[in-house]
């Protein structure tokens, strides 16, 4: 029953988020600040993880392809497919659920605990619109971070390949060009937009509706990470089946 009630409250929150809009002059500043906090501030960790995971995918693929009948360029092909289809959009989103999601839940939760949300409401401001809509709009730039992740993942794979001596640079480049389907990138970005919305709204929901003090802010952050990850994994399956399934 609690789950159903929470799901209902979540959708009501989304509807309410679009009502009584905050002035554009104020909203603009909030969006820019959230782009800085949520997107620009995450580029470092996305770049670091993408680069090294790209390298690991390449090494593991190369080590498992020891049959002389299998062409070496398959290492580059497998790295590209893994990164574009799953690693960049899904795996990075799970990491972002920890980084960005916890930040959103704890910052909104702290505002709830310290009565800052009550202060907004007393002033006649739609606090859901003021707090959550800028984060949702800012995260529309999330695919930009994922695109960087894709590039650096493939680049990391190339570095590992060349410097580790697993295959030649020419084979790797041939592999990443082989049988390229642009729809796979479109599929990946569609998933990313959906995940961006989830990353903005589920942690906000847990922060906004939390009750209690500092301890509960911590608990809300953990719960928000768990639910954001669960929803991302479920939606990943559904979207993949819808767009790539038979």
């Amino acid at each position: 029953m609690t789950y159903l009630s929470n799901i209902g409250a979540y959708f009501l929150m989304i509807v309410e988020m679009f009502r009584k809009p905050t002035r554009w002059s104020v909203m603009k500043k909030l969006i820019l600040k959230d782009i800085d906090d949520l997107i620009i501030g995450s580029l470092g960790i996305v770049a670091f993880i993408s680069f090294f995971v790209g390298g690991v995918i390449t090494i593991q693929t190369a080590l498992n392809i020891n049959n002389p009948l299998i062409p070496k360029y398959l290492v580059g092909f497998a790295t590209r497919q893994s990164i574009i289809l799953e690693f960049a959009p899904t795996f990075t989103s799970i990491i972002m659920a920890g980084k960005v999601g916890s930040f959103i839940t704890s910052s909104i939760g702290t505002m709830r605990v310290t009565e800052q949300i009550d202060a907004l409401e007393v002033m006649g401001i739609n606090s859901l619109n003021y707090l959550i809509l800028p984060k949702t709009i800012a995260l529309l730039l999330y695919p930009f971070a994922i695109a960087i992740g894709m590039f650096l993942g493939i680049f990391g794979g190339m570095a590992a390949c060349v410097f580790g001596g697993y295959t030649s640079l020419e084979d790797y480049i041939l592999g990443i060009q082989t049988d390229f389907q642009s729809f796979h990138v479109i599929y990946s970005f569609i998933k990313t937009f959906v995940f961006a919305f989830i990353l903005a709204t589920i942690p906000s929901f847990h922060g906004y509706y939390m009750k209690g003090g500092a301890l509960e802010v911590g608990k809300a952050s953990t719960t928000s990470f768990v639910w954001t990850s669960v929803v991302i994994i479920l939606l990943n399956y559904i979207l993949t089946d819808m767009m790539l399934g038979r």
Binding site: K20, T22, R23, S25, V26, K33, T110, T114, E115, Q116, D118, A119, E121, V122, M123, G124, I125
Partner: protein, 255 residues
Amino acid sequence: MIEVKKLHKSFSGVEVLKGISTSFEKGKTNLVIGQSGSGKTVFLKCLLGLFDYEEGAIEYDGKIFSQLTEDEKRNLRAEIGMVFQGSALFDSMTIAENVMFPLQMFTNQSKSEMEDRVNFVLNRVNLEDAHNKMPSEASGGMQKRVAIARAIVNNPKYLFCDEPNSGLDPKTAIVIDNLIQEITDEYQITTVINSHDMNSVMEIGEKIVFLKDGLKAWEGSNKTIFKTDNEVVTDFVYSSELMKKVRQMYIEEKQ
């Protein structure tokens, strides 16, 4: 003027407010006092529209709050200033930005007009040099003064304060009390203050409503509270040794 009629409020079947009726006049500092758990904060949050209530009515200058449309409620709230117990300053903004916030949200003033107004109210609360400080860099007393500045910056008709003296030393508490009273007189605001501080009662209690277990147990002023024989009030007022001595002196003087 704010009129409250037979206000009832429950949480999970437990009645916290049991039919409170009272009124708060314009240009007066109205204190709602009582022990912790007596329903003061719930009462204040009902007045502010942060809590819905089951029965009763709250009228702001004749307008029944629960019958207003969302837009009318929003317009009314723009006329309300609130000082929260913990100040509730936005910790991502500087002190000047905190004070400017209601102007940015509700007025069409130019940036220089807003800055002038912010300077004026910060001077009014004796915080001339604190513009660029973050709330975390300000002391408890300063934070309270910033909260008062933010509450009055948009010339409110109604000012609510939830325990404005909590966590402050007695001297700073008196400064805050006097500031609230001066502002109330100066701008003829209807001010409602939640407190359990007897100093505030004596200093600025032009009207006092005493709550006990969700009921109005007594109503009067700082001039009449020491004369009442109402046991619930005397039990609260004379709970400290100091106040007991004050009462003894009063009785001896009377004899």
